[in-house]
Amino acid sequence: MEHTALKNELKTHIIQYLNLKIEPEEIKDDQPLFGEGLGLDSIDSIELIVLLDRNYGIKIEDPKEGRKILVDVNTMVDYIEKNRKK
């Protein structure tokens, strides 16, 4: 899948999994997912891990690895492109 299309798809998944009341285009590629950015929390991080598993076959089992991946849409897409199994 083309890079931009994957970003848009991921944003749609994030909104769906986290039940966010925003549109995909409102999530900036480099906007931090946690804290000041989208304001997500620890339960959301688990939802994102489930999202990666179900949609891309990626299993994140090491929390340290997760912190590097779940930074923003850019970091998630980079990881998906390199590690996706479906």
Partner: protein, 356 residues
Amino acid sequence: MLYIYQTSCISPQPFPLAINNFNTDITVAHHGIMVVEPDYADIPVNILRRMGKAVRMGVGAALPIIAAHRNIDGIVIGTANGSMEDSIKFLNQIVDYKEGMLTPTNFVQSTPNAVAAQLALLSENKLYNTTHVHRGLAFENALLDVMMLCADQPQSQFLLGGLDEISTYNHAIEYLGGWYKSDSIDTNKLYQSTSVGTIAGEGASMFLVGQNPSGAIAKVSAILSLHAEDMGEVADGLSRFLIANDIDPNAIDTLILGENGDIRFQHFYQNVARAFPLSNQLRYKHLCGEYTTASSFALSLASLLINCENVPSHLYKDNGKAKGTINNILLYNTFKGLQHSFIYVQSANDMAINAT
């Protein structure tokens, strides 16, 4: 004896519930009537987005009470199903993903005690926190629990609530079981129906209660719940209830019946009504539909009706008899003709009661 100081109700009626603002022209969709949800401005957005409807309704109804009374000594909720919609989502995930990774939100929100727990978290209340789940008597058991708590702790105030939602899956099962009318029906014609089944409803009613008469708007003087299929058993239960609580049937000015348009259970209501020939008979399920904790809506209504002189005509079963100020109300409800409850509600002002 349990005094009610404040009520808050999210239902198919406009929020907040008010005697002079009932909507009797409710659209029935998919054999049910849905709650009118407020905007929940007091619930933090990041918490609100995770909540299923039952949790939203329960928390949304309770927050105005909690905001006004920070020192509540416990939270007691009655709900037969809790957030059934989230429960089904979670169970479906277990099947769909072959017991693999499951999302935490549906699980966290799916348990019946999610509302009481969420309220405790939001209000940082670490005291008594219990949820009763006895199907059609869930709210009655919560009420009984609070009455016993208050007897032990006369200075305490508790948040009491009853809630249930229409969930897609549960609604379909109940419909297939013949509990909802298959024909389209107007809520205004619910009681004229001669067919089986009723109209599904949902709602959340919350109460601030305690033992101190000061500031109370009404009081619950007695309650009886029983399981019975036989009308004779219900009649016996009612007789015992009246005797045990020293209630003169002629002193009850208003009978609020849980009639729901299902012809199968009409004889229960008719039989109970015969024991109170002098009482005005009121009905309410054209306003909220039928659900397992609909008696909590009835208690909200009763709390508003106490001391009320202008009762809307659509509530009366027979246009009313000798109309006057309402001081003594008996609520009777049956869920599927199997679970029955009587709740005796009176004016909090003893002088008003004695004057009747």
